[in-house]
Amino acid sequence: MQWLAIHFFRLPVEVLALPAPAVAIAQQRIVAADAAAAAAGVRPGQRLADALALLPGLRPHERQSERELAALESLACWAGNFTPTVSLAPPDTLLLEIGGCLQLFGGLDALLGRIRDGAAAQGLSLRLGLAPTPLAARWLTHADSTTEHWQAALATLPVEVLGLNDAAERRLHALGLRTLAQLFALPGATVGHRFGKALPLQLARARGELPDPQPPFAFPERFVQRLELPAKVEVADHLLFAARRLLMALAGWLQARQLGITTCTLVLDHEDIPATHLPLGFASPTRDAERLIRVAREQLERHRLAAPVTELHLHADAPQTLAGSSVALFGQQDAGNIAPVIERLRARLGDAAVHGLAVHDDHRPECATRAVPWPEPKDAPDTATPPRPLWLQAKPQALHEVAGRPTYAGAALNLLTRAERLESGWWDQDEATGDLRRDYFVATTAQGAWLWIYRDAQGWWLHGQFA
């Protein structure tokens, strides 16, 4: 077992997403300070008045414990990206069992790098601790230690990591006990006698002498998450930053449940008017955070906000099972490569702008081609047909008739075939493609272009080119 503890030590303030410098407070004392405030010397435990004296521009905000817990659960979903065994250690720590997944991520350094990058992308500060026992890992976050020699690192930790009450800490200091090493050196019974029975048990759990089972985090059955925005957001760019947290949590949730999605909905709540629903579509089932974010970015960039946004919701619509990382979805070919690009194109150009083609069984040339969202995996068998052009004009182009022969660009056309009569569509009410009666010919121009033309009651028409 390898436990990785992730301590989001600025969670109370970072969950509020206030502009820097900011602090979260409870009972007029600082609970957490963001990086800018910490750099100015603001420390947790300080009185707000002292902090304001240090940094007059400081934005204090009352701590919101429910939001911290919701954020921690959302982060647990995100941690599903890395391992299925996640435990919550409220208020601000996650425990990940990573012994089984190091191979998958290419070693410890690579995994820690991904975790740090992921947290940075969400605007969260973290400290890590790595040890074979969950409690030692939690304590080691104090020193941000992921060293192999965890016992040596543990021994050097100050006794404050134990989280004892003030009186007990004072007594430890009075005895000259400042590090865990000194505490480990004492007999367990003595420690229990002086500082309560719980302490020797904790020390034993941290060192792996007693079992310390962790309740696993249950990934929710359905993914519906909301994120309250700190201020009314009017710029799509800022929305993306907030949406990123939700999308990264969604990706982790999908990974942990071995699911993929082809659509999800981002709901933007406004103050006065009904919420805006932004559907995010994917060409193939996915749980790749990069793809989710990319499509969300394209959608948000194109979207004009009707009103400032107060809250974001994210729903995963109809997740489907998606096992493994490389699934051949369309026959043998791997659509995985091109699918993300198709999503980008669709997000910018519109869904209908990227399509495949299918043959539709209809004699009318206008109706013989069907645009399909994705090419059909099997090609239909070839059927012998009279020549058909590769290009078809969306609107047939009228040709002048001179001396009974059609002309193109002022020169007479050379007709090469007998008339091919197409007569069809009498059942169709549509005026443009409905009942038609035409004689088709292959013709060439003096410039060597091969055209497909037809004659009907109205005259001669250019309908296509043999490219």
């Binding site: 043998q332 070919q333 150009l349 209908a352 495949g356 081609t369 090609d379 091969w450 043999f466």
Partner: protein
């Protein structure tokens, strides 16, 4: 000093060095054009996979796509997708299928102007393409240079179709062709290649809906023609 002749030989073997008179040889992949006469004049003996090929053609219907049919048919499922960007007219699916072009691996992207060039760049970046056919009548040199860069790092047959009138403008494409229709075959001239200019256009009997001989043999008018007064 005795090593210097060998060094010169080594130098002449380099891919980025070519002597006038001979075509450059790049180790890159090519796709046989299906026409022996054409392969003989193309550097590396086929269409280049990776790097733009610019085709300047007079109008639709002279055989601008049929020229590439033999090459496109060689692309199997493993090679990747065939993507058509900003086509100049609607694609008539029955014809594509009748010519044995795989609709199951064909995607069409409708875009205009700068969007079309952007889409091509994205698509080339995916590395999942076997062939890209794009119509860019108004693209500027900068857009083409970006595409050339994006394409040169792939193994994708990248065909850019442009109107005849841009022939005088400089282009970053390493291979530029001009196509012209005629009664006897498609007239192909190479405006630019990694090698000496072509002496004269070559004529290719590309695939047409009817045999070429039908063009030479004047057929009876198929449509009712005004009857000419019979002169005795």
């Amino acid at each position: 000093m005795s090593a210097s002749p060998a060094a010169l030989d080594d130098l002449l073997q380099r891919a980025d060095l070519w002597r006038g008179g001979a075509c450059a040889h790049h180790a890159e992949a090519t796709l046989g054009s299906g026409f022996a006469a054409l392969d003989a004049v193309l550097p590396d003996g086929g269409w280049p996979c990776g790097g733009l090929t610019e085709i300047l053609s007079g109008g639709l219907g002279i055989g601008e796509l049929s020229l590439f049919l033999p090459a496109l048919r060689q692309l199997d499922a493993e090679a990747g997708w065939i993507v058509i960007v900003a086509p100049p007219a609607q694609l008539h699916a029955p014809a594509w299928q009748a010519l044995s072009l795989p609709l199951s691996r064909l995607l069409v992207v409708e875009a205009e102007g700068a969007d079309a060039a952007w889409a091509c760049e994205q698509l080339l970046g995916s590395g999942a393409l076997a062939a890209l056919l794009v119509w860019l009548p108004t693209a500027d040199a900068r857009a083409l240079r970006r595409l050339q860069l994006a394409s040169s790092s792939t193994r994708c047959l990248s065909l850019v179709f442009r109107p005849e009138r841009v022939a005088s403008q400089p282009s970053p494409a390493p291979l530029r062709l001009a196509l012209r229709g005629s009664d006897t075959g498609l007239q192909l001239d190479i405006l630019k290649r990694r090698g000496p200019p072509l002496a004269r256009p070559i004529s290719l009997a590309i695939e047409r809906p009817l045999p070429w001989s039908r063009l030479v043999r004047r057929v009876r008018p198929a449509a009712p023609v005004a009857r000419e007064p019979h002169v005795a």
